[in-house]
Symmetry: C2
Subunit: 161 residues, 2 copies
């Protein structure tokens, strides 16, 4: 039940892209140096982000990555899902058991149950509910939220000079 390192790398890479908003097309070379990850591995991660429309990529000399939308629009949830996929956290592995029949088959107690409710019990619903709560929280937080902290610090440094 842990997020993969890839998710960690993806978040940090995006933050770097967001911080260097002025400079366009930051290559995997620079990113991998900052994150202390190999270029080959980080490439796979950046490709996933590109496929999900989170960053744009351009090949060739002076190529690289840039955010495909503003940092305000990039939520933690979509980054995590781009990397980890979208399978549900809890998958029933007991659907043929007597227990499942007892818990999930409500067709006898309720005259006309919806088809979608027929094969789920409250275990599944609690776990799915938990996932939805997690998702909601992650949807409400964006890369910009993290950036604000860094920006605050940056402004302070500038004023200091």
């Amino acid at each position: 039940m842990q997020f993969s390192k890839s998710t960690d790398y993806a978040l940090h890479a995006l933050i770097h892209l967001a911080q260097a908003e002025d400079r366009n097309n930051i290559g995997v070379k620079e990113l991998s140096a900052i994150l202390s990850v190999s270029e080959s591995y980080l490439s796979k991660i950046m490709s996933k982000l590109r496929k999900d429309g989170i960053v744009r990529a351009v090949s060739g000399v002076k190529g690289g990555y840039e955010l495909a939308k503003t940092a305000e629009e990039i939520t933690f949830l979509e980054v995590i899902q781009a990397i980890e996929g979208r399978q549900q956290m809890f998958e029933c592995s007991n659907l043929n058991s007597k227990q499942h029949q007892l818990l999930a088959e409500l067709s006898n107690t309720e005259p006309k149950p919806k088809a979608t409710d027929r094969d789920e019990c409250l275990v599944k619903k609690v776990m799915d509910g938990a996932e939805q709560h997690l998702h909601q929280y992650l949807r409400e937080h964006t890369i910009q939220f993290v950036l604000d902290q860094a920006t605050k610090r940056c402004n302070y440094s500038i004023n200091k000079k």
Copy 2:
């Protein structure tokens, strides 16, 4: 980012123990038959639940397992943590990078930061916050909550006769 099958098995085993509250000491034999898991594997799972004080076990003839507390007192969270452990979902793997120094070292912006805040940035705080939300939800739901559904159905069956 998925719960393990072991967690699935643990929840189902506990529900069976809770449903058979009258009969004490239900063996791994019966449980494994109901869940369609091998006895050896389920043994490990039950041991974890026992170590965390969720079930009681008694060896020997007529031995087996029973809930160590009421179904109302057993939360989803403690079951999941008994099986999956208690590591945090997000672990920083970038603590030596320049980026971390920029994001996390706030000692310059705030005169006297608490020691606990010094080595965390908002990425970490968002992820930990998400985990806390997930935990809170799982803490609020108990085995009894699932049981109520089954009981309702059971009562209906009885009335039907």
